[in-house]
């Protein structure tokens, strides 16, 4: 399926169960999501949810309109990917044996990642950045043996001085 990737930034009231409402809505309406993350925003009492999903523009518009029907949802914006910084964080524990250790450290250096923990047999590597960079680093590390892997899924923000450039799905369809 060649449906386009969309990144939705959803500002919500920080109430108990709000993530449940959002996820439940996605499931009920059969909207497929690639990833979803939630955390604080710049405003107290407001959380920011980042949803990555694929779909035709009218489908994404329907997602947005349905999200607006939730009382806790304050704003939904479809972030233009090219004008945004879209990053995720990965932590990966890689097995090391003798000479491989130096080789791994070299790779980590190339990708501007960081070693955040080490044992005689493993290295824990932390990397932040775009999905492609993370995937490429992971592909380089895989041959050494991945013990454990965690990725946050992307968070995103538009470039420029303010957030006003982000394209908002207007409620009134005009």
């Amino acid at each position: 399926m060649a449906a386009e990737k969309h990144i939705l930034a959803v500002l919500v009231e920080d109430h108990p169960g709000v993530l449940n409402r959002v996820v439940s809505l996605m499931r009920r309406r059969s909207f497929n999501i690639d990833s979803i993350t939630v955390g604080y925003s710049e405003q107290p009492g407001v959380s920011r949810i980042t949803i990555v999903l694929r779909g035709e523009p009218y489908e994404v518009e329907q997602v947005s309109k349905q999200l607006y029907k939730l009382m806790e949802v304050l704003k939904v914006t479809d972030l233009p990917e090219r004008e945004s910084v879209v990053h995720e964080l990965m932590m990966v524990k890689v097995a090391t044996k003798g000479a491989s250790r130096a080789e791994i450290m070299q790779i980590v250096d190339i990708y501007q990642a960081k070693i955040v923990d080490a044992t005689p047999t493993t290295l824990m590597i932390q990397a932040a950045g775009g999905e492609e960079k993370i995937n490429a680093l992971l592909a380089m590390l895989r041959p050494f043996g991945i013990r454990e892997l965690v990725r946050t899924g992307p968070v995103a923000m538009t470039r420029g001085a303010s957030g006003t450039q982000i394209k908002s799905h207007a409620i009134a369809a005009d």
Partner: protein, 590 residues
Amino acid sequence: MAVANPKELKSQNGNRTAERVIEVVEEARVLTGAQITCAALEAEGVTTAFGYPGGAVIPFYDAFPTANLHHILVRFEQWAAMAAAAYARVTGQVGVCIATSGPGATNLVTGLADAMLDSVPIVAITGQVIQPLIGRDAFQEVDIQGITLPVTKHNYAVQRIEDIAPTIKEAFHIARSGRPGPVLVDIPKNLFSERAAYSPVEFKGRRGYQPSLVPNMRQVRLAAEMINKAEKPLIMAGHGIMISGGEAEFHEFVEKTGMPVAFTLLGQGCFPESHPQALGLMGMHGHKHVNAALGECDLLVNIGARFDDRATGKIAGFAPKAKVVHVDIDPAEIGKNVRTDVPVVGDAREALKLMLEEVQPRQHSEWRGWIESQRNRVLEAALEDYPEWPEPYTIIKAIRKATNGEAIVTTDVGQHQMWTAQHYGFDYPNRWLTSGGLGTMGYGLPSAVGAKVGRPDLEVWTVVGDGGFQMSFNELATAAQEKLDINVAVINNGYLGMVRQWQDLFHSKNYSEVEILGPDFVKLAEAFGCTGIRVTKHEEIAPAIERARSINGPVVIDFVIEPEANVYPMVPPGASNSDMVHERFDQNEL
């Protein structure tokens, strides 16, 4: 803590000092959670609640005898929600239902889903187990907030006694504003017994909830332009016209534009069906000429309907030649099912007011003449002819004739519902109650109970099948206890008729599990202290209806009809509205 305004109190209490008044009033206004809940309901103008007590709401019910509320004890919580919804639809107020935790709360779920799909404002109050036990699988504990998430407009789990009144305030606001819907408020048992100061609260608004009432003028002009240009325009009239209270504006709009009007199932009643521009029911069991008009129109103006699949049939074949104008208060409905050329987002009444200014007077006589020519004369002539036994459509027409079409008519779900929708001819708004979106069997009798409680001044009939009636006839006890003057017309064919019809038409007459044995409905009525009448011949129909009308109290008429009567015309499931079948047909022809 809420503090009374000393200025107001002083003026009410003459020469007392403000300080003393506050003291006295504060003392007087320290209430239990149960009393606060009742006071908050009264503050919303609630006079009636449908409910069923149980463990977690015993302390809540403790406040009822001194509250200014008429509580109607139903026999099953699901019917409390349905009765509350019917009450809401006939009164225009928010309906209220009450249930205990666990099974009481889960029994409400179907009623909430029904109200959600039909956009009916109700507030459900449920008791929850005491707070220290929440999350421990306590006796009669369920996560009703989680369970009702997808079937409510919004729901709340109250955590503190001081949140009860503001939550109820907001719940009512959300239920009745914008696109109405059900709202659930779950209150833990211990909060009902706690005490706190109470004073009425104001709704402070909510950032994430701002329904758009007044449509964008540019869209209104675009819509009017299309209406003025169209040669074969057609209105699809939905429930939203009545929800917005825009019947008068709609009437004016219809007469000015000369457009013919097709009704959705829930739209019936928004405009008199006896008016020459009213065509009748559209969709799966719509009339032939109405669906023909849909197939031929060059502009479809949907006002306050959501393009339900029972109305549209196969989307690809729906109004294929038409541009589409869609007026809806819910922006998510625009483009959800049917591609829309001009969306008008706003309250139907507001939109009609603005469009009225922009549209030009038209007649469309030729177009309306063509639609008239598409009537199924053979079927209509056959309806004038009747056999010896009571035919369903003759029963429906006889009820209409006897009541002059002024009664509130509710139905259950199935064949009798479609016969009523086709043949009753609704002339008044909010007097036709049926479970449209969810299609909930059992809806008939409890909705009649709710309707009669809400509008005791109007005659109330419910038309039910022998299947659906067996799901909810326990509400005869409620009707008898409340001395409600309602009439139940059981269209009794000994089958789950609509399922049997589908099996007949689409499953090679394989009548799987549809034969249903019923009780003797006359004796059943008598057992409940009601009156029972049986009708087996055509000539008994009118006298039975007159007798039922003359009896003060619940009456059940058992109309024994031909077991295999079908509802025609019908659009086969998955087919286009233009591919209707008009009589018994060979399955191979499909």
